[in-house]
Symmetry: C2
Subunit: 166 residues, 2 copies
């Protein structure tokens, strides 16, 4: 059996595991990022629950290969948003390294084009396209919009390593 891990980092993201059995059968499991709501100033903010995330990640091992979506600083973004994006990206790399899961960083354009989707376009249209593709690929499952990136990143990882069963 081979298992491919697709990771869409960020507090509203998810990680997905594509299990490719030796029989040719496939299975998919999707995990939302475990988060807690923390009071910050007057409002509430979602924060990673690192202990739950670590536990869930260890539970998915052994992983043949993980694809972690590349994150980077974008001009014009707010400092809080950039700090959070960097934080999530760091958390994932820290956990993957410490658990010993082999991983690669993959740019959004690259995994999307690998699974046959347009690399660019309007953000909303891209999101919807990824969700449609995920639902087509796994027709028995209800895959919400916010989990579909993780699912298709896992599919891209499997495809690029010759185990796509596309």
């Amino acid at each position: 059996m081979r298992r491919y891990l697709g990771i869409d980092p960020g507090v509203s993201g998810a990680f997905a595991v594509l299990h490719l059995l030796d029989t040719g059968d496939q299975a998919l499991t999707v995990h939302p990022i475990p988060c807690d709501w923390i009071e910050v100033g007057g409002g509430k903010r979602r924060r990673y629950n690192l202990f739950a995330l670590h536990k869930a990640l260890v539970h998915t091992t052994p992983i043949s290969l993980a694809y972690l979506e590349l994150q980077s600083a974008r001009p014009g973004q707010g400092v809080v948003s950039m700090f959070s994006t960097g934080f999530g990206f760091g958390v994932w790399q820290g956990l993957l390294t410490a658990i010993g899961i082999p991983y690669m960083l993959v740019a959004p354009q690259r995994w999307r084009s690998r699974v046959g989707l347009p690399a660019g376009g309007k953000k909303k249209a891209i999101k919807r396209g990824v969700c449609l593709a995920a639902c087509r690929r796994f027709p028995g499952m209800a895959i919400p919009l916010e989990h579909s990136d993780a699912v298709m990143i896992a599919v891209a990882a499997a495809l690029e390593h010759g185990n796509g069963g596309g």
Copy 2:
């Protein structure tokens, strides 16, 4: 023996381990953050070497308690700088969580006041004050400016937990 870990995250930071032996003797080890120089665009950037950092961190265990300096988004900072700060903070929390090292987040003002230094002031003067204090505390060692935060954070961790030997 007890060991207290002080962490000044960031690519130019360090981590320090204060060993408190049952005999009353003390020892200090300081590790710069392992980094590689990566070509980015036309220039070069320092990046964490996560595998070396993980290995070095595992090597310090068991740790009684780690103090990780709290990082947060600061208005007026650049997006690249904020992304990097968030990234480093995330890496450390991911590694500490996965390795199972107990840790606390500590604001700069708090650890500085715990070791008897002014909580605020001009950045350069603060840095120099911390370095002087570190050199006084460990007279046998040459502690450079960029390692002294980590050293005094480790001292603060030990002090707050009743093992300061101040």
